[in-house]
Amino acid sequence: MTPVRIPALSLVVLIGVSGSGKTTFAREKFAPYEAISSDACRALVSGDENSQEASGDAFDVLHYVAGKRLDRGLLTVVDATNVGRDSRAALIKLARDHDVLPVAIVLDAGLDVAIERNRNRPDRPFGDGPIRRQQAQLAKSIKHLGKEGFRQVHMLRGPDEIAAASIVREPLLNDRRDLAGPFDIVGDVHGCLAELLDLLARLGYAVQRDDEGRPIDVSHPDGRTLVFVGDLVDRGPDIAGVLRLAIGATASGHALAVPGNHEAKLIRALDGHDVKRTHGMAETLDQLAVETPEFRAAVRAWCYGLVSHLVLDDGRLVVAHAGLKEAYHGRASGRVRAFALYGDTTGETDDYGLPVRYPWAEDYRGRALVAYGHTPTPTLEWVNNTICLDTGCVFGGRLSALRYPERETVSVDAARVYFAPAKPLVAPATRAVDELRIDDVSGRRSIETSAMGRVTITAEDAAGALEVMSRFALHPRLVPYLPPTMSPVATSRREGYLEHPDEAFAQFAEWGVPRVICEEKHMGSRAVVYLRPARRQAHDPGGAVYTRTGRSFFSPAVSAELVTRISDAVCAAGLFDELDTDWLLLDAELLPWSVKATGLLREQYAPVGAAALLALPPAADALAAAASRGLDVNVLAARTQQRLTNARAYDEAWRRYVWPTDGLDGVQVAPFQVLAAEGRTFATVDHEWHLGVADRLVQVSPDLFRPTRRTIVAVTDDASRADGVQWWEALTEAGGEGMVVKPLANLTKLPQGGLAQPGLKVRGREYLRIIYGPDYTLPENLGRLRDRNLSRKRSLALREYVLGLEALDRLVAGEPLWRVHEAVFGVLALESEPVDPRL
């Protein structure tokens, strides 16, 4: 057995003449689909695997498929003769373009064997000539494979060695996914040993010292691991001391480190290259000059041994000195190393002659947390799940660390300014944090939710939502959640009714939900209340009250006033303290409906009533006159009389949704659910608690808040159900809109998998006139209206519900805006699906 050790992620180029056994080798030594054969690609494009004239197209396909696999981080084997230098050069470029290592495996079965094998293959009638030529080509180039760019060259000679070879895959040096931490990641130290020790003490590390009292190792009682983001050297007062500690702690396994650009430069200096003693290099060289040659050698070796970046904790954490874009995580190439050391630049230089750094973090959309340093910044700020930990200690700033997985930062102040910065430390003033990108939302998307797996958004739905979100909604930062649609109860067969509580209770009983809460359905508009501490930006309103599509209910000034009033009440009720939060997201209803829907009421609802009450009385009179003449119009006359009664009932029904408001005077908010607060959501907290919170707000401010009447029903208890029905009847007969029936325990998983509907609405008989028309109760109409299909609505309601939960989960986890917005946008996109809006 000859072990052939290759990097676990690489482009493996098999090299060997026709008949050398490449295809067999690929089949036996690699997994299915890992190897792409040029013959197979010829067959794909031409129908004939020996068609030489199809080679151009075939290699296009081969390169394309190999590129896609490498993009996805999959080892790929190219099964082609590759005896020509050009064909290999193209593959080396392919590997570099995807930042993986190119590896050559040469199969030299021997010319005679190859010729013999080809003679026995009827599909290769081309004789021995081509094989001899290939062998000659191979012989000529075999020595130069390393120079061509292959990072490894493996030679297998003779059929026996080829057959006996076994492939051993070795993880890349940057692949430390096996280390789960916890970690404390320290920003650029630059020789500030005192501050480092201070920080380590704050982080709870014990420091081990050598005989001379110099720190040489650290350990943490909880087994935490220290990680340095590089730039330990240059500029500062005790560079050698910092290096001694770092070298010792990495050797003992108590610390990890990635190199910074200053370490890279130091290697060159220590190797005797002509390096300018600028940017603090002088301090390093001077301090090392008084150390022993052994120490200098150890420093050189240590710096040289550092790997450009580290992928930790199963891929969830990436540490690189200057940050790293997602495509480079776990990859190896010159440009990956350059990015990790120097970051991305725009190619321009600023007023201080320094390169302008490209804000790669704003484009970052990866799932891994990227911790980095390199760019001194006065404040620690999360940008799309990345954080820069260089707070300019050596320039008199602070030395900072990130505790992972806690995502907490710890900083200590610098004792003084050790080195004057080339430019002042200021955060770029105009940079908008967490800007959203068009490809965060557009096109067909699949959103992973923890509650129900993937939810797919079609491109068409996304297009509609994009317009509404852009033209009418508040800024996505102010809209971290959108409420889901709600399905009505199954259609009732009861005479005169389209919806009735019986079906709701029966449905929840069927779902195995023992107790439900019936909540009064308020006669207003669904509203989300977002209270948050005002941020730095001057125009930040400190929160928002918005509709189902993210529009503000009020003008900015009125909205800010409402936010303040609600916020004050929440504060007075002690909720901020109790929930240990400084922000809150509430699900509510805002009344009256006319606040939002005046246009609709005036243009649609009121005119229908006015027209009906103009047209029907004269019609009834005319029919009465005709009847008195003895004409047979009795049926028509009775129906017209009934329609007049219905029209009056309708007119009363919509009128209940209008009351005068002036600014906020007359406006009421009925909260019914706490959606999220610092660090937690409340999706599994029972509804009695939620309404209890609402009651406390009502107590504090009874004018602003409106209580939600409710009753609890045990769905398998006849008496309890009857009480529930009676409660609904009393509510709706007094003009109420209806009720929403929810599982008392809130989020409910079904035994057979999936989720129960979070609520079913049971709307009142009179209210439904403004949905289905004044005359919907006429038997001939009701009969037809009962034919309505709820399955689509139900499915949408669930998908929107889990997307909403997902948005909340991402929000409280502190995920970047684009991740929260992805789920929020998904809700809006689903809402644009064509579903009967009367449901």
């Binding site: 557009s442 006015a610 027209a611 103009l614 028309g773």
Partner: protein, 469 residues
């Protein structure tokens, strides 16, 4: 919905009940007619020698009205079941008139030919006659020139609420007219007055209606309004995803209309229209700065894209709009171009809320009459997504609010329903200078359109040029 026609002759030359002959409907019978949208019933509440009244009662089936069009464009707008169609005298009633009284409308009456040809004392009552956009006054302007004495009273839209009059009048027409003419007037003018969504039994109804009015329409003083309203009703309704989302927020359809429609200002048509002047000015600026790759942000249906493609100097053109509907229109228009022109253009949906890294490849970004459609608290996002791209040039145009006085707009009134603001020259300059400073651009201003000495030009243009660093 109801219509009654009363004949009350002043003489006893003929009995009022002859109305039955004229209408071809016996006064002592109740007759039902299929009117397409529902059932029409013709009956006589009164019939004596002195006075006869025929009633046409149309019962529209509101459910069939919605469900019958399930796949049609109107299937999902919320208002459908809650609808004035069953009550207001609309095009549906016009169709019922045509079906119930088709012979009478031709003026033919074999048994009473002289009566059919005579002007008779008629009273017509339409208790719920629509009067949208014009009210009782418009009703009078339409019927009085035809010889009717008009009694039109609009009740309040909602008693107790300060919402003004209802868009319906209780209409009584009296006059001496030929019955056939009277029916023709109703047939044509009821839909004109309705001026709302129509549910035509067939698209050709419009043409039929106009033909029906040939005898009197030509000399009617409101002829323009009558034909305009017919044409307007041929438009298809917004019914896509955007409309559905608007309905979620209980907005009326108009609020969901594309930003491109809803113009308040009618620009003068006697000289080069402003939009042409604007286009010329923008193209001139682009040529002057030597831009070759140009992205039009908010391209609408592609006016600028086509102009750019007509000049081979512009090698690459990108059109971005927030509305998929507008992009579809642009796409269709671009189909007529040559292959080589089309190869230079790309269309994509996008918005200023979201940054688009692909814009970095362009020399010049256009924001033509766009910023005024963005809420002022979102201008920071616009700034980041447009100027953060660091294109060499950005061209911004926007209305000059000062000039609105010349259009006769009241102070504070905006030119377009979707405009969120309109800036004076100094407001625009303040914004532009701030943007320029924050993003490293120099800015210069131009006026577009005919200049007023005090108020400037109707459109203001800012050219941003990135400063060398």
């Amino acid at each position: 919905m109801l219509l009654t026609i009363t004949l009350a002759p002043h003489t006893d030359a003929y009995p009022a009940s002859d109305l039955g002959f004229l209408l071809h409907k016996h006064p002592d019978r109740v007759q039902t007619i299929d009117a397409g949208s529902g059932t029409a019933t013709v009956f006589y509440p009164e019939s004596s020698p002195a006075r006869a009244t025929a009633a046409l009662l149309l019962e529209v089936d509101p459910i069939a009205l919605v469900r019958g069009k399930k796949t049609g464009p109107e299937a999902f707008a919320l208002g459908q079941y809650v609808n004035d169609r069953p009550y207001a005298a609309s095009s549906l009633l016009a169709v019922a008139i045509k079906r119930a009284f088709s012979t009478a409308m031709t003026g033919r009456c074999d048994s009473r030919p002289e009566l059919a040809a005579s002007e008779l004392p008629l009273t017509i009552h339409v208790p719920a006659c629509p009067a949208r956009r014009g009210g009782a006054d418009l009703v009078r302007r339409l019927f009085e020139p035809l010889g009717w004495q008009v009694d039109a009273v609009a009740p309040p839209l909602a008693a107790g609420l300060d919402w003004g009059p209802a868009p319906y009048v209780d209409l009584t027409l009296t006059g001496r007219l030929r019955l056939a003419d009277a029916l023709s007037h109703l047939y044509v003018l009821l839909p004109v007055l309705d001026d709302a969504k129509h549910y035509w039994v067939g698209a050709d109804e419009v043409d039929k209606l106009v033909r029906r009015a040939e005898g009197w329409l030509a000399s009617h003083p409101e002829r323009g309004l009558i034909t305009d309203r017919y044409l307007a009703h041929r438009r298809s309704f917004v019914s896509d995803a955007v409309a559905r989302l608007a309905a979620l927020d209980d907005a009326s359809d108009d609020e969901a209309a594309p930003a491109a429609s809803g113009c308040v200002v009618d620009e003068p048509t006697d000289r080069t229209p402003l939009r042409q002047q604007r286009l010329d000015a923008v193209l001139a600026v682009l040529r002057a700065v030597g831009a070759r790759r140009v992205a039009d942000l908010g391209c609408g249906e592609g006016l600028y894209l086509r102009a750019l493609l007509d000049d081979p100097m512009f090698t690459e053109v990108l059109g971005i709009d927030v509305s998929a509907r507008e992009l579809d229109k642009a796409e269709r228009r671009l189909e007529r171009l040559s292959d080589s022109q089309r190869a230079r253009v790309t269309l994509r949906q996008g918005s200023l809320t979201y940054t688009d890294p692909a814009l970095a490849a362009f020399d010049a970004l256009l924001l033509i009459e766009v910023i005024e459609h963005v809420e002022s608290d979102r201008l920071a996002s616009l700034e980041a997504s447009v100027f953060g791209v660091r294109a060499a040039h950005v061209v911004v145009t926007t209305p000059n609010a000062e000039y609105n006085a010349i259009y006769g707009l009241a102070s504070g009134q905006l030119r377009h329903a979707d405009h969120r603001f309109e800036w004076t020259r100094s407001e625009f300059a303040d914004w532009a200078h701030g943007v320029a400073e924050r993003h490293g651009y120099a800015v210069e201003f131009r006026g577009v359109g005919e200049a007023d000495d005090d108020l400037g030009t109707p459109t203001q243009l800012a050219l941003f040029t990135r400063e060398a660093s």
